[in-house]
Symmetry: C2
Subunit: 498 residues, 2 copies
């Protein structure tokens, strides 16, 4: 007889949720990669049914007493951390009625499906109509969660992705960024004006890009025996930790988008593939938070992927994939990867202008959730902020404006800030790594195999820790301090003004 | 307030089962087409969890009273047919304990996954070990079902696929076949010895085969807006009625395998895509039985696909796909499609030798389930029966022997007879169609658009009927008689001895 019967029951229940969640994750991956158009309604209904079922399992009346009894049982530290996460998930789930959970899933599936065609057609009016349901449900959810947690509505939504983060803290962090980033961008643009950059000459066959992307993902440690790389409209990492599905997209006139997108998703994928195996299915094995998740994708895409050392690793592989050309000389590859130029699309943005895209979305979605603005206000605000932050005129271009991302159609309000928090954490991890191993900055470091040391550090300090610690504790254990945005600024100045 | 509250509750429950089943079907399709090797254990666990959950829903204690109350409600004919099917499913489910259902799913996933490598390696010993669990569970299931239904163990398993069919009836039908088929094969072989057949010259690029297969499936009425065609080790039709997934496989030295395999699966796919929409999710909307399902795949593959008219339709498409060559002349294409030659592989068999493959499997699996033989006895029996039925020596070749099919590894005992029952029904449907429309036999009938009339008849008489009638009633309504194997014999003699 176990000394922890209540805990054991909770753990068994979580394993059941994990298995059923696997089916939902695969159906969602299929929806984005393979599903034919007319399958959308049935898929939406199936996913909503599952969401309702999982919600029922998360809110079973017996759980309250079971959690309370487990808290009295003789648990070890890891079990106690797991129980903390179980209680957290249970509390959040109990705030929401099943009808809202099912309606949220249905509305997201519907809106996301329609959005693909509406984005393509630059159809803001059609989207706005379609999006109203998603927003209405998100506001209800924010309302319920904020009453329960005594925080603002938007804070309650951020908390789903980044526990403990608040709008006030984001205002502080992003307010600081808004001060120093625009002048830095100007200085870097001037600095880079001196460089000659040779543009690569296409076309770049999609099949060759796919082979190159797979090769790079493999080099970066992704295990293709336990995962795949496919094509979707909007790149993402999905699937299950035992079977991780990365996606990218190919344009034959440009290989950088698919390549750097793949490097980004590979960071997510390695985190997922290296979550603690012995506790798989338990909340404590899950990735800590989405800012930490993005710190992995951006450690891969930005810290490693745009380094001089990576350009050296990449240069011969580009020549092999597409044939030799002057643009594929290592110094030129590095210039291509670090070229700063304001653009309309967030996922294609360079390292310096990326935070501007995030701040813009954060400010709009926060006001939207707090009820300060309505859907009809979005385009004008978008135009105004793009002009203020990046001096770009986006009027009438909804497709490359507020329709470009999958997050809003799928109801993921509160997610966007995690990208820039992730960039900050990624710089913080790299600072530690560089202290431990100063040679990482040398041109041939990655060619000579220092990648393995980077991965070892990430595995030990981030991936294998799952949700054992709070984000703040994880950061202190890994780097000696909580989030310190000074590392991000120092990194950008070092890389872009050197 | 509805006049049929109990029935409405049952119908709502079935819709939930339908939605959750959709997720299982997609996960299964993914397992066969895309899943990386190391994802197998997690997928198996997830599918087993779902099987257990669906079983719990199928056996909810409240259902007994609900079904009894619904039987007293003022239902229309269609609702009453639905209730009959609901009761049938409920009875079968209640015979099996949840632990067996979960174990069955896990064992099948494990065995099927291992089988792929074991088949490849011709590893009978490894397979036998692996297969023991699947057989043990199938025997338990047969035992429980046979006690409940007071039929033999094997009959209880056939009933899952072909309600009402029995081993005694199969013995009668197949006994008759075993009398007249071997001499007919000999006569046809002699008859065909006179013909000159020009062999197609390859290679046939997989991408061109894929494009041709898609074109043919489209011509045969498959809706690619609501389905797909992909590659798997063993061809199958899966997915959901709203999103039907066909698979095939390509060999660059032979286009007939993928082409005729696709035609076969397209028959299944059209049945699925044309099940009655207004009752989707209800048992009455389901395909009647697997013999009727195979009557559709074989109506497509054999009745239409190997007709002189289809050869005329196909000839120019082959030349377009692979370039002109003498083998692609219409008369030669027809000779290729109707060539009778005993071979090792069931799915590649011609129309005449196919039943021999089925009878052999039927006799072995029946003895296996009844406990008259053990796994170790299979290879010798296989060799003996292949020699007796087709004069082929298969000793030591397990790969192209008992390891060739997915049915046994996945526990589908009782399915094989449905292929030959389906071939008989397909001949019976075609006899009706030819009475209605004698021109169907003319060489250019299909080129001139008579396909639409075939599909209209199938839609009206088979597809749209779902499970409204028993198999016998369906056959009488469609063709004026229950299964009459004389049509199959007459068809073969007419086509192959004319």
């Amino acid at each position: 007889m176990s000394a922890t019967p209540a805990y054991d029951l909770l753990a068994a229940g979580n394993l059941r949720l994990h298995h059923l969640g696997h089916l939902g994750a695969m159906a969602h991956w299929d929806q984005e990669t393979h599903m034919p158009t007319r399958g959308a309604a049935a898929r939406g209904a199936a996913l909503a049914e599952l969401a309702a079922l999982l919600h029922r399992m998360h809110t079973e009346p017996a759980l309250r007493e079971r959690i309370e009894r487990a808290e009295q049982e003789p648990l070890d530290d890891l079990q106690r951390a797991n129980l903390r996460e179980i209680r957290r998930e249970w509390q959040i789930a109990n705030v929401l009625p099943e009808s809202l959970v099912q309606a949220r899933s249905l509305a997201a599936s519907r809106c996301e499906h329609a959005w693909r065609a509406q984005r393509h057609a630059n159809d803001w009016e059609g989207f706005a109509e379609n999006f109203a349901d998603v927003l209405r449900i998100a506001r209800q959810e924010a309302d319920l969660l904020s009453q329960h947690q005594s925080v603002s509505k938007y804070d309650a939504l951020i908390d789903r992705f980044e526990p403990g983060m608040t709008g006030a803290e984001l205002d502080r962090l992003f307010g600081d960024l808004k001060q120093w980033l625009p002048p830095l961008i100007l200085r870097v643009r001037e600095h880079q004006a001196r460089d000659t950059v040779v543009a690569p000459v296409g076309p770049f066959a999609a099949s060759r890009q796919a082979a190159l992307c797979e090769r790079i993902a493999r080099l970066l440690g992704f295990d293709f025996e336990a995962g795949r790389l496919d094509v979707s409209t909007h790149p993402f990492t999905g699937g299950a930790p035992e079977d991780v599905r990365l996606t990218t997209r190919y344009r034959e006139d440009d290989f950088q988008q698919s390549l750097m997108g793949t490097v980004h998703e590979t960071g997510h994928g390695c985190y997922e593939q290296n979550r603690p195996r012995e506790l798989l299915g338990q909340p404590v094995s899950q990735a800590r938070s989405m800012a930490i998740h993005e710190s992995q994708s951006l450690a891969f895409e930005m810290q490693i992927g745009r380094s001089f050392a990576f350009a050296h690793l990449l240069a011969p592989l580009l020549a092999e994939a597409f044939g030799s050309q002057p643009a594929f000389e290592a110094t030129n590859v590095h210039r291509l990867l670090t070229r700063v130029r304001a653009g309309l699309i967030r996922v294609d943005a360079d390292e310096l202008t990326y935070p501007a895209h995030v701040i813009l979305r954060y400010e709009i979605e926060r006001a939207l959730i707090e009820g300060e603005i309505e859907i009809a206000d979005i385009p004008a605000l978008w135009d105004e902020k793009m002009m203020a932050l990046l001096s770009l005129d986006t009027r009438g271009n909804f497709r490359d404006g507020p329709l470009q991302d999958v997050h809003w159609p799928s109801g993921m309000f509160g997610y966007f800030p995690c990208y820039t928090l992730g960039a900050m954490y990624a710089a913080q991890w790299t600072a530690v790594l560089l202290d431990l191993r100063p040679t990482l900055h040398e041109p041939l470091a990655l060619v000579h195999g220092d990648l393995a040391q980077v991965f070892d550090w990430l595995r030990e300090n981030i991936w294998s820790q799952g949700s054992r610690w709070t984000t703040a504790e994880l950061a202190i254990r890994a780097s000696g301090e909580t989030l310190n945005p000074a590392h991000f600024r120092a990194h950008l100045e070092r890389r872009y003004l050197a």
